[in-house]
Symmetry: C2
């Protein structure tokens, strides 16, 4: 019971950053006494701290500004990707306190080796955080693949070449011991959550975050949660069919969106070499080249993006009709390409979605660029701490 009430108060503090105890009492419905008591507990756990005096009304005693303690607990986000490993530490004030990206060609490396490298990165991050007076409360790992979260497995991570890898146990062994046990989640889901927590996704009530990488995934966020589906495979936007009977896709189908708007397809249409195992080692390389062409108004490149945008918009129209998002957020490679791809996306979206709804949802570019997944991973830990502050109590 106290556990829940601690969470209620802490959530309110987080959302209204500097608040007085009196205002918290109003908003939570607790009495001022109760709020004071709960805050005392949270303060002893290092989660909140008193600040300066604040003049609330016209006159009367000023209140004490309570805010989240940015130097207490911290969250560790980790990311395994095809060509790099990344770690970041966020404090409860959502400021980045540490960020590290190590390029690493993880293709074909045994999972154990990859995860022990990740463990070293995590240890460094925890040490760096400790050096800043921060206590890392927990960690979440972003993985690029289909997960079976119930059994703690990576079912398939095609780009890493992993199949049925027991990440859960591997992570338990490799990561440092933290108060809150480590979790892992799909990269696309975490990127979408990052948009919710750190981008401006929260303003739209639910949105679809399209994360274009080598494939095209989507994270569907509704009511502050990711839509996972019955088996955790929801959001496979890249395999919606654009052209029935079209070009064969790696998924076994034909005419999938990925064949029209995947990274390789766009590059090929723009006359650039497709990404291969060797050229991919340099991140952003191929997209950089594409941007150069676009900035010089290369006709072929512009046409490539128009085509990709139309295909993307057409499938998004289906998604809009089914899921009714408040916005479409373009993430991953579509984020830097947004200026060029958005017009076609919006056009196709407008044609394909019925007139029953008043307006087509806005299409916006993500501001988080490539860091979305790690940020989202750290965000999961922050949300967990805020939702279950009792986990960090000095027992």
């Amino acid at each position: 019971m106290r556990e829940r009430n601690l969470a209620v108060v802490l959530e309110q503090v987080v959302h209204c950053q500097p608040v007085t105890r009196a205002r918290l009492a109003e908003q939570t419905g607790f009495t001022k006494t109760t709020v004071s008591n709960l805050l005392a507990v949270l303060e002893s756990a290092g989660l909140v701290q008193d600040g300066a005096l604040v003049q609330g009304g016209e006159r009367g005693r000023p209140g004490i500004a309570v805010s989240v303690n940015g130097d207490g607990a911290a969250a560790l986000g980790l990311e395994i990707n095809v060509d790099y490993l990344a770690a970041c530490v966020l404090d409860l004030g959502r400021r980045t306190r540490y960020h590290q990206l190590v390029t690493f060609d993880n293709r074909g490396r045994p999972p154990e080796a990859v995860i022990s490298s990740l463990g070293r990165l995590a240890a460094e991050a925890v040490a760096a955080a400790a050096g800043q007076g921060l206590l890392v409360a927990g960690a979440t790992v972003a993985v690029p693949g289909l997960l079976d979260r119930e059994n703690g497995l990576v079912r398939r991570a095609p780009n890493l070449g992993w199949t049925d890898v027991p990440v859960s146990t591997l992570l338990r062994d490799a990561l440092p011991d933290l108060p809150i046990p480590a979790t892992h989640d799909n990269e696309a889901n975490l990127a979408a959550l990052a948009e919710l927590w750190f981008g401006d996704g929260a303003r739209h009530g639910g949105f679809i975050h399209v994360s274009g990488e080598i494939g095209i995934g989507a994270g569907i966020v509704m009511d502050g949660q990711v839509l996972r589906g019955a088996h955790g495979f929801a959001g496979e936007l890249g395999h919606l069919v654009v052209e029935p009977g079209g070009a064969p896709c790696t998924c076994g189908g034909r005419g999938c969106l990925e064949q029209f708007a995947g990274q390789d397809a766009i590059l090929r249409a723009a006359g650039l070499p497709a990404v291969t195992a060797t050229t991919a080692a340099k991140p952003d390389g191929p997209i950089r080249a594409l941007l150069d062409l676009l900035e010089h108004s290369d006709q072929r490149a512009l046409a490539a993006l128009d085509g990709a945008g139309r295909a993307l918009g057409a499938t998004l129209a289906s998604a809009v009709n089914l899921v009714d998002p408040g916005a479409i957020v373009l993430g991953g490679i579509f984020s830097p390409l947004a200026s060029w791809i958005r017009p076609a996306v919006e056009a196709a979206l407008g044609e394909g979605s019925g007139s029953l709804r008043t307006a087509v949802p806005p299409v916006v570019a993500s501001e988080l660029a490539g860091n979305a997944a790690v940020l989202g991973a750290a965000g999961v830990v922050i949300e967990r701490v805020i939702g279950h502050p009792a986990l960090l109590l000095p027992s």
Copy 2:
């Protein structure tokens, strides 16, 4: 706090129907004393009742079977539809205790008139329930149209001819006063929930319920809840585009699924007269005629269903990739037509959904036929009573 614990115990009773106090204590984590106390409260509210003795283990004192009181509280489900009004009363044991369907051509009738007719139907139902010793706890109304639930409006109900009707206030005036305030919801959503609660939708973890009527809607159920979307417009399966640039649709788009698998489209393809305002008055009339043709293996009718099934399957493939349901449930007119339409649906579904997932979700026919929406409406009330039993306490 007690409120929550009452709900926990009651939910457990509902799910394990005849249970002893000792077993409830194990399952909920409360002590036996607490369970006894909470049950005493629930019993005084008429929600549960003690039954016969039950021999739990090998030996020892037999426990008292506690079960939901089928003669205490009851739920009233109401439905407004184009050509009828319906009401049904379910007890907490989910048995139908009263059911009434009045044909009524509601097209064009002023909303006030329709709702006051509904009010009379509701009053009769409450009286009938009282005659059986049941106390109606609350009511929910199924409405065929797009709702703005926040403001209590029917935004648009094309088949009724309603626009921006303030149902919330109209219902408050027309319905009898009940302990739990009346709510309303979309017909398709409620039908999907009925499948979850009264059909076998619960076995699949999340499903898509396709409700074919004059249009085609879908209710997406995930984690025991309907996916509503940012504006409550989710599930517009009927307006996913099957053939870009195809036949114009009432929604303003082109080549929508409704143009291939809507009731009118199927009837036309089968050589039957389309449904008009006059012929629709006889419910099931046109579908009955179609079934006759199908049962006599009429080639044109069979081909019509094959075509409709392929179109439906193709759009469902998109839905499967996006939402990853555990099953597809065919409801509304597709339920009686299931035997003929399912093969084509499954075929198209198999072609269009990638091989990343292990298997295509099963396509099953709903067993609830036309009553799904009313049942779902009553189910909402039951869920509400079970989730908030404190609302019915003798204060």
